[in-house]
């Protein structure tokens, strides 16, 4: 439906009364939360109300989202006072002196930072890591399977979290002995729920930062050949990046490398267990896994709400996004847009590869996506191959779901076999 030429474009104020509270807690960790149906029907762009009463735009259409994601007038600058925040907890975190590198800055700063770390995340580099990933997966399962069948274990802490954690530590050059130190802390940064945990999240971030700062000193004294060593030698010692920025950059990589993939491994496990025919097909033909991983990314859309602030006005599809307006791009609704995906609410690992935005789109599209895909493929294939009788140890609706304003996932996943 397009507006006729003489209708003035609608602004945020034109629909204030019809802006539901947002974000909304998921009932099932990989399904749309209640109220998303209605938001989808309003598409491709509507309005929602945040915790502090502020009304912002919500982009839900896939095609429209693909136009807006790359639009340079939409900024990721978290230090902009108009940047929309999903919870008071995050408001507290903003009191930091500097914006988080990559995710929280715009070009040209963003491009410079991305260039520094990009070579380590290429397809070839990640493929070379596959045997390492496989080894970690097998070692963790050896430990888990040494327990009696029938034992209940938390798949998140036994497998889904330590595996990506060990891998990102290895890639960056964080000694393996230290990786468990981060598992806890990065979990607090990205997924801690409850407003009272603002301080905890902040403290965890500060501790990781301090650790990395110290690690930089140790590496300067005793260089190795990891990403961090390279950044120190090629960038810091040549004056292209200062120590503080480098420690922050490493912190962002470390934290994003932990929580994201682990949540996807947990939710994928749940979703596949709930679709036994598709799981059987995957077991019978493991070459289906790469495609299945992308379908699971689409289906679960764990990085659902991507925030932006408009730096300049944008007129689009009969709407006027004014400078200073907050914009939230809902990857889940874009990934379940019926115009882009047939029967969008069904998991279908045989679906033709579509254009999901589970890793985002535009200049901030996930730098770790090749790594994440490799980890998910190996984690899921190995898990279902080695533990054919794997099942949830509690009913699916009793698995605790994360708060709505953080990365989507579960806080534990009790399983048995």
């Amino acid at each position: 439906m397009t507006d006729t030429l003489d209708t003035p474009p609608k602004t945020l104020e034109d629909g204030n009364e019809d802006a539901p509270a947002y974000p909304i807690k998921r009932g099932c960790p990989y399904q749309m939360p209640p109220g998303y149906e209605q938001l989808r029907e309003k598409g491709p762009i509507s309005r929602v109300t945040l915790w502090n009463g502020r009304v912002v735009w919500l982009v839900t259409g896939n095609e429209l989202g693909r136009k807006l994601f790359p639009d340079a007038r939409l900024s990721s600058d978290v230090l902009d006072p108009n940047f929309p925040l999903l919870a008071p907890r995050i408001e507290a975190q903003r009191q930091q002196a500097a914006a988080p590198p990559l995710v929280g800055v715009d070009d040209p700063v963003h491009a410079r930072q991305r260039r520094m770390v990009l070579p380590s995340f290429g397809v070839r580099q990640i493929n070379a890591l596959r045997p390492v990933i496989q080894r970690y997966a097998d070692e963790l399962l050896d430990t888990m399977l040494a327990k009696e069948p029938g034992t209940t274990v938390d798949l998140l802490t036994e497998y889904a979290l330590p595996m990506p954690s060990a891998v990102i530590c290895e890639l960056l050059g964080v000694p393996y002995e230290d990786h468990r130190y981060f598992d806890e802390r990065s979990r607090h940064v990205l997924s801690s729920s409850g407003p009272e945990q603002a301080a905890q999240a902040q403290q965890a971030f500060t501790e990781i930062l301090a650790y990395l700062d110290d690690l930089i000193s140790r590496k300067q004294a005793e260089p190795g050949d990891t990403l961090l060593d390279e950044l120190i030698a090629r960038q810091m010692e040549e004056g292209k990046v200062d120590r503080q920025e480098l420690a922050m950059l490493a912190t962002v990589l470390l934290v994003s490398g932990h929580e994201t993939t682990s949540n996807m491994i947990a939710l994928s496990t749940m979703a596949l267990l709930a679709h036994p025919e598709q799981l059987e097909a995957l077991r019978a033909d493991e070459s289906l896994m790469p495609r299945a991983v992308d379908e699971l990314m689409r289906y679960a859309s764990i990085g659902d709400m991507l925030m932006r602030v408009a730096k300049e006005p944008i007129e689009i599809e009969g709407h006027l996004i004014k400078a200073g307006d907050g914009v939230i791009l809902s990857t889940m609704l874009m990934n379940r847009d019926p115009e882009s995906f047939g029967r969008p609410d069904d998991l279908d690992i045989f679906r033709p590869a579509g254009r999901h935005v589970g890793f985002g789109y535009g200049i901030h599209q996930c730098i770790g996506q090749n790594l994440a895909r490799a980890e998910m493929e190996i984690a899921l294939t190995t898990l279902f191959r080695r533990v054919p009788t794997l099942r949830l140890a509690v009913p699916a609706d009793q698995v605790p779901v994360n708060a709505p304003f953080v990365l989507q996932g579960v806080s534990e996943l009790p399983v048995t076999w």
Partner: protein, 68 residues
């Protein structure tokens, strides 16, 4: 047909290199390039147009011979 990548725009997402490895590859810095010679290799490789659409920063352009 000519295939070109705007290297100033490319963010090294590798979408193209994964989708059509016969045409795109990543260089040492992590950015994608068109494999020399692949443009004139006869038939349009399957998935090429989809790769153009999938690029998150719209850095790939195809110029059909005779069209542009």
């Amino acid at each position: 047909m000519r295939i070109s990548i705007d290297t100033d725009r490319c963010i090294g997402s590798a979408q193209c290199a994964v989708a059509v490895p016969s045409v795109f590859e990543q260089d040492e810095d992590g950015f994608s390039t068109v494999i020399p010679g692949s443009e004139n290799a006869g038939d349009e490789p399957p998935g090429l147009r989809e790769a153009v659409r999938a690029c998150p920063v719209q850095a790939i352009t195809l110029t059909d011979a005779g069209e542009a």
